[in-house]
C-alpha cells in the first residue's frame, strides 16, 4: 500500500492546516483496548474535505476530539503531535484551547436535536459565540447572526432568528449548528457525523451546503462518518480507520474505485448496493395481511388560547401483503411509516379501518382478546440497546413470550436456547445479561424474541439503522435466511432505500401519512412514477459517484 501522508511534497501550493503525526491516545485501564488510536498520521489541507471513515469503536472521532481538547476524562494523548497552524495543540492549556475553539476551529455534532439550547432563541445562540470571544457589539452580533443564517440557507431567516430550536426541523437545526460553527470564520471545520440523524433528502442538502461553504470560504474540513456513500459524495481525501489504526489513506477517487486494503474492500462491498435490486418472483397466493382504509390521527390537547393540533399520521392506507413476502415501507421521518408499523402490531390503536390478518380483523380488538392474538404478529425494534430489559437475562427475555401464552418455564427456556442457536449466538447466551452483548448481537436477540412465538408476520421497524454497515449486512442476511426457512412474511420499515433494495420484494413509499407509490422493488428503482420517489432516489448518497467492488 502506498501511503501518501505528505501531500505537500507532491503539490507545494497546498496549505496544510492541521497535521497529525504519530498520534496515540490511551484509553483508561479496563477498556477493551489500550490505545484508542495508535500511530495515526494525516493532514487536513485548506480547501479540502478530509473524510475519516470507520465503524463504531474504530477511534475515528478521537483525533478530532484531541484537536478540540474535548477528550473524555481518563483518555489522554501519549505520543505524537497535533500541529494546527504551526502550534502543537496537545501542549495547550485549557484556557488556550478555549480561545482556539470557535475562533479557529468550528465543530458540528451529530445530534442537532440536543446540540442547541432549547430555551434560547436561535439568534441569541449564534450571538453567544461572538460574546464568548468578546467580539462585536450586541447589535452587530444580531446582524452577523442574520447574515450567517442567510448564508447557510435557512428558509425565512428573519423569522428563524427569533425562533426557538423546537420550532425548526432537524435539517434546519443542523444549519443553525453550522452557522454557529462558521460564525468566527474558522480555518478548520470539524464535522462529526453531521448527517447521520437526518433524512436522506435533508442529508443531501446539508452535504451540498458543506461542500459549497468549503469552496466559498476555502476552509479545511475534517468530516467524520461511517457511511461510504457520504464519502463518495463529499470527500477529497479519505482515511479509513479500524481498531484505532489507519488501514488506508489516499485520494477519495482512488480509494473508492480501487481499494487496496481488504477491510476497505469489505466496507465498500457492505454498503447496501447501488445496483438495482434483482428481480424477484412475487408469489400470487392469498394475502396474509390486508390493510383497508386505515386511519390514525394524533391530536394534541388545545388550551384556552391555543387551538388543538391534529396530525394525520395515517391517511386512508390500504395495502396487501402476501404470505412469504417482504414489503418495504419507505419514507422520511414524519411520513407515518412507523405509525403504520405500530398499528399493525397494535401498539397503537387505529381510528378506523381494517387490519385483516388471515381474515381476522385485528384493528378493533381490545384487552384480553387482543392479548390472545398478539403472538401472531411480532416486532423487531430499532434500538438494540433500549429493546432489552437490562435486568432480565437473555434467555428469560426470549422465554417470556411463550410463558405468557401458557408454555411451562423449562420448555420455554429450552426453546430460547434453540432460538439463540438459530440466530447464531449459541445456546450459552441464555444465562447472560443484555449489556454483555454488542449492538449487532442484541439485535439478533431481538430477532430470536420475535421468533419465539412462531409469528406469521414480523414487523421490523428500522431494525438495522442503528448498526454499522458490516453488521447491518449480516443482520439482513440472517433475516433473509430465517424468512426462507420459516416462510415468514416481513413488513420492513426503513428510511434507507439502499437497505430496502437489498431485502424487499415490494416497496411502498409513504409521505405525510399517505402512500405515494407502491410496486415491486425493481419497478420503484428503475421506473419510479412519482416525483417524490425520484427525489428520494436522487438523494441516496454516493448514487452517482463511482463506487467499486459492489458487484
Amino acid at each position: 500500500m502506498t501511503v501518501t501522508i505528505d501531500s505537500k511534497k507532491e503539490n507545494p501550493s497546498v496549505e496544510t492546516v492541521l497535521s497529525i503525526r504519530d498520534l496515540s491516545v490511551a484509553l483508561p485501564k479496563g477498556a477493551d483496548r489500550a490505545l484508542a488510536v495508535e500511530n495515526v498520521s494525516y493532514d487536513v489541507n485548506r480547501g479540502e474535505i478530509m473524510c475519516v471513515v470507520g465503524e463504531s469503536g474504530s477511534g475515528k472521532s478521537m483525533a478530532a476530539n484531541t484537536v478540540m481538547g474535548l477528550l473524555p476524562k481518563g483518555v489522554r494523548p501519549v505520543q505524537g503531535e497535533v500541529n494546527f497552524l504551526g502550534q502543537d495543540v496537545i501542549t495547550l492549556t485549557e484556557k488556550q484551547h478555549r480561545a482556539l475553539r470557535g475562533l479557529k476551529i468550528g465543530m458540528i455534532f451529530q445530534e442537532p436535536m440536543t446540540a442547541l439550547n432549547p430555551l434560547m432563541r436561535v439568534g441569541a445562540q449564534i450571538a453567544e459565540v461572538f460574546e464568548a470571544h468578546g467580539q462585536l457589539t450586541p447589535k452587530q452580533r444580531q446582524e452577523r447572526a442574520l447574515e450567517l443564517l442567510i448564508e447557510v440557507g435557512i428558509p425565512q431567516p428573519e423569522k428563524a432568528i427569533s425562533a426557538y430550536p423546537f420550532e425548526l426541523s432537524g435539517g434546519q437545526r443542523q444549519r443553525v449548528m453550522i452557522a454557529m460553527a462558521l460564525a468566527l470564520e474558522p480555518v478548520l471545520l470539524i464535522a462529526d457525523e453531521p448527517t447521520t440523524a437526518l433524512d436522506v433528502t435533508t442529508q443531501a442538502q446539508i452535504l451540498e451546503l458543506i461542500r459549497d461553504l468549503k469552496r466559498r470560504r476555502g476552509m479545511a474540513v475534517m468530516f467524520i462518518t461511517h457511511d461510504f456513500g457520504v464519502v463518495a459524495e463529499i470527500a477529497n481525501r479519505v482515511c479509513v480507520m479500524r481498531h484505532g489504526k489507519i488501514v488506508e489513506i489516499g485520494e477519495a477517487k482512488e480509494v473508492l474505485e480501487n481499494p487496496q486494503n481488504a477491510y476497505t474492500k469489505a466496507l465498500i462491498a457492505a454498503i447496501p448496493s447501488n445496483a438495482v435490486p434483482p428481480h424477484r418472483e412475487t408469489s400470487q397466493v392469498a394475502p396474509l395481511l390486508e390493510i383497508k382504509q386505515l386511519n390514525k390521527v394524533f391530536r394534541s390537547r388545545g388550551g384556552w388560547f391555543k387551538p388543538a393540533r391534529e396530525v394525520r399520521a395515517l391517511d386512508d392506507i390500504s395495502l396487501t401483503l402476501a404470505r412469504g413476502e417482504t414489503m418495504g415501507i419507505v419514507g422520511e421521518s414524519g411520513s407515518g411509516k412507523s405509525t403504520l408499523g405500530r398499528c399493525v402490531v397494535r401498539l397503537e390503536h387505529p381510528d378506523s379501518g381494517e387490519l385483516l390478518l388471515d381474515g381476522v380483523n385485528l384493528s378493533q380488538l381490545k384487552g384480553d382478546a387482543l392479548r390472545r392474538e398478539r403472538h401472531r404478529v411480532q416486532m423487531i425494534f430499532q434500538d438494540p440497546y433500549a429493546s432489552l430489559n437490562p435486568r432480565t437475562r437473555v434467555g428469560m427475555a426470549i422465554a417470556q413470550g411463550p410463558m405468557a401464552n401458557g408454555t411451562p418455564k423449562d420448555v420455554a427456556l429450552k426453546q430460547a436456547g434453540e432460538l439463540l442457536d438459530l440466530v447464531g449466538l449459541g445456546a450459552s447466551a441464555v444465562e447472560r445479561f443484555p449489556h454483555e452483548f454488542s449492538g449487532g448481537q442484541r439485535q439478533r436477540i431481538g430477532i430470536a424474541r420475535a421468533l419465539a412465538l412462531n409469528p406469521e408476520l414480523i414487523v421490523a421497524d428500522e431494525a438495522v439503522s442503528a448498526l454499522d454497515v458490516s453488521i447491518q449486512a449480516q443482520v439482513l442476511e440472517l433475516l433473509e435466511e430465517l424468512k426462507q426457512r420459516l416462510s415468514l412474511s416481513l413488513l420492513f420499515i426503513t428510511h434507507d432505500l439502499r437497505v430496502a433494495a437489498q431485502i424487499c420484494d415490494r416497496i411502498v413509499v409513504m409521505q405525510h401519512g399517505r402512500i405515494v407509490e407502491q410496486g415491486s422493488a425493481e419497478q420503484i428503482f428503475l421506473q419510479p412514477k412519482e416525483a417524490y420517489t425520484q427525489s428520494l432516489l436522487d438523494a441516496i448518497p454516493g448514487r452517482q459517484a463511482p463506487v467499486a467492488a459492489t458487484a
Binding site: R371, R374, H375, N389, G401, A452
Partner: protein, 277 residues
C-alpha cells in the same frame, strides 16, 4: 456469584451492615444489660459521662441512666423507622406504579388524591393523627407512614412514566404479557435504585419525626426512644451536651448505615455493575 458476595464487594455497604447489626444487637441486649426500666431515676441528675462507675454516659435531667436509655431506645427508634417506611412504601409504590403505568384518568384521580395529602404540612398532619388515635407505638408508626408516602408515589409514578414507553416494555406487551406482569417484572425492577435510596432516607426522616412528636409530648409514654431523649435534652443543651450528643450520634450512625446498605443493595441488584467489578 452469590447475592451476598456481590453485596460484600461494596466495602461501604459491608461497613453499613456491620453498624446496623451492632445497633440491632444493642437493642436485643438492652433488657439483659439494663434490666431496670430506663425511666427509673437511679442517680443524681446531670452526672457527666465517665464521672462515676456504672454510668458510662452520665445521667439526664431527672437522674436517669443515659446508657440505658440509649440501648432501650434503639429498639423503638429502629422499629418506628423501618416499619413506618415499609408501610409508606406499601402505599406509595402501588399507587405510583398504577398512576404512572395507566396514565389518563386513573393517573389524574390518584395524583389529586396524593396532592390532597401533600398540601397539608407533614408534621401538622402527623400531630393531628397521633392526637386523635392516642399516642402509642402503633399510632405513631401509622401517622408517620401516612404523611411520608406521597413522595414515594410521585417518584415511582415519574419512573414508570418514563419507562413505560421503553421498547422492552412495548416488546413485553407485544408478546402478550399481562399488565400486572409487565408492571412487576419489567418496570418495577428498573425503578429499584431510586426507591432504595429514597427509602433509606425515609427511615432517617421517620426517626426524626418521631423525636419531634416525642418532644411535643406525643410520644408513647411507655417506651424510651432516641427522639424523646434528644427532645428532652434540648432545653439544657448548653449545660449538659452529652444528653443530646449520644442519641444524636446514634441516629446519625443508623441513618448512615441504612444509606450504605441501601447503596450496596442497589449495586448488588444491578446486573451491569455487579459483573463489571
Amino acid at each position: 456469584m452469590s447475592f451476598f458476595a456481590r453485596f460484600a464487594q461494596n466495602r461501604g455497604a459491608l461497613i453499613g451492615l456491620i453498624i446496623l447489626l451492632l445497633i440491632i444487637v444493642m437493642a436485643i441486649l438492652a433488657p439483659l444489660l439494663f434490666p431496670e426500666s430506663p425511666w427509673r431515676m437511679v442517680q443524681r441528675p446531670f452526672l457527666p459521662p465517665l464521672s462515676q462507675d456504672g454510668y458510662l454516659l452520665g445521667t439526664d435531667t431527672m437522674g436517669r441512666n443515659v446508657a440505658a436509655g440509649l440501648m432501650h431506645g434503639a429498639w423503638v427508634s429502629l422499629l418506628i423507622g423501618l416499619v413506618s417506611t415499609s408501610v409508606a412504601l406499601l402505599i406509595g409504590v402501588p399507587l405510583g406504579a398504577i398512576a404512572g403505568y395507566y396514565g389518563g384518568l386513573i393517573d389524574d384521580v390518584l395524583m389529586r388524591f396524593t396532592e390532597f395529602f401533600q398540601t397539608i404540612p407533614n408534621f401538622a398532619l402527623a400531630i393531628v393523627l397521633v392526637a386523635i388515635m392516642q399516642p402509642s407505638i402503633t399510632s405513631i408508626v401509622l401517622a408517620i407512614a401516612l404523611v411520608s408516602w406521597p413522595p414515594v408515589a410521585r417518584l415511582v409514578r415519574a419512573e414508570f412514566m418514563s419507562l413505560r414507553h421503553r421498547e422492552y416494555v412495548e416488546a413485553a406487551r407485544l408478546v402478550g404479557q399481562t399488565n400486572s406482569t409487565i408492571i412487576l417484572r419489567q418496570i418495577l425492577p428498573n425503578t429499584l435504585s431510586p426507591i432504595i435510596v429514597l427509602a433509606s432516607l425515609m427511615v432517617a426522616t421517620a426517626i426524626l419525626l418521631e423525636s419531634a412528636l416525642s418532644f411535643l409530648g406525643l410520644g408513647d409514654p411507655n417506651v424510651m426512644s432516641w427522639g424523646y431523649m434528644i427532645g428532652a435534652a434540648r432545653t439544657v443543651i448548653r449545660q449538659a451536651w452529652w444528653l443530646s450528643f449520644f442519641p444524636g450520634v446514634a441516629i446519625l450512625l443508623t441513618v448512615l448505615a441504612l444509606n450504605l446498605v441501601g447503596e450496596g443493595l442497589d449495586d448488588a441488584l444491578n446486573p451491569k455493575l455487579s459483573r463489571e467489578r
